[in-house]
Symmetry: D2
Subunit: 136 residues, 4 copies
């Protein structure tokens, strides 16, 4: 099963007065993970939006096990959970540079027509690329 | 069962280019809800931290049903799920001014000693205040 | 000279590991100030955008004198600097509940056509309202 | 004159409903620039804080010329303005991948003792490293 890994460094402004990354900021980290997963599949989310398909998050689940600190280099591992239909689901793990597991997470996103905001199926060109790499 | 309600207006900077509130920003909205719940119980989270108890989020679950827009007045309804021990769990609902349900959510937080970062029991003065208002 | 005052409470997620409000978050506070100033003039920025006029910030200047802390109630005082043309300029002061001056700031915003992104003059209905209250 | 350049990609969550990066988020971009400048000098801001020196921003000035868009790769160019004393001042320019100038900015930061919050002089080991590379 193909996974995507993306690493980046925690920004100062992402911490809070507990001295660790503010828990709400992990939503952005997961987004960096799944957009990197899409790029890895050679799909640009930016182009998808420009062609009228948006992909809002409809469910977000995060379990916080250990804190990330300012200046930590963290790695988001993103895995597609199953073949997408009108929804696409991802599992995530976030690690620090000592390979400690900080966070496990899951998001479900819905493919929507940008104008009507109605659900649509995952675009064929995305499905085709997924079929090339996965066998569900 | 006592609930807390807090209302506020969506800020411009909380939107994203989908034209709605960025999904990651709801973590802050839930926090406003539970801190208001605590104040309603006459407990100041600020003082709790100053006396050495921190309360990080260890699990966050959000279901997004409908979008909040810039300048919407939204209401977060916060309910304690059960009597707290070393953890405290809340359910939330967020509504817009037309009483449309935007979000349901759940968070679990852990009481920790600020210095050692070790789990501790919910402070007695908090438990007492909860006992006065709830019967679990 | 008419000023607008708006008060609100510092959110936990707005702090950083210095234990004070992250300096970048003051941009949002100033925005709350000037949108409140507009409402006070009976102008809704939301409606202005819907009618095709956007008002991006083109210059931002903030001087930080004292820190705001989590749970502080702070007050943003917003003043129009001069009669607007294709630009509108505001001065701000932010105070805490002890009336200590935390921040002085200035922003310049430009009236733009939302579609063409070209500069336009301040809408007449806004100018008229300003004329009713100010004499420049 | 030595400058630091750091490039990164605009995150989705950094946009607002104008479809461009929210102006307040540039404060974080400037911070990435000057922390990269410090690293380039072989100074870790994290270690500086751990040894009791903090460096809050006391003045922030940003001129916005052109917008950054989601997924743009932008480059922050950071230059030390003059030899630091109790303060340190930086000039910045931000470019997109077409070398268009998006932003010019300036920040002044103050060296403070972390405990007393009183001004102190720029640490000697930092001054020495600056002397090695600059002649003011």
């Amino acid at each position: 099963m193909r996974k995507n890994k993306i690493s980046f460094t925690v920004r100062y402004g992402e911490t809070d007065q507990m001295g660790v990354v503010y828990h709400g900021n992990y939503a952005q980290y997961l987004e960096l993970g799944r957009l990197s997963w899409l790029k890895d599949l050679d799909v640009s989310y930016k182009k998808m939006e420009e062609t009228g398909v948006i992909l809002p998050v409809i469910s977000l689940q995060i379990n916080f096990k250990k804190s990330a600190l300012y200046d930590d280099t963290i790695t988001v591992v993103t895995k597609l959970k199953k073949k997408p239909s009108v929804k696409i689901e991802f599992d995530y793990e976030i690690y620090n540079e000592n390979d400690e597991l900080l966070v496990t997470a899951n998001t479900v996103l819905a493919f929507l027509n940008k104008e009507t905001k109605r659900p649509i199926k995952c675009p064929d060109y995305v499905l085709k690329k997924i079929d090339d790499y996965y066998d569900f």
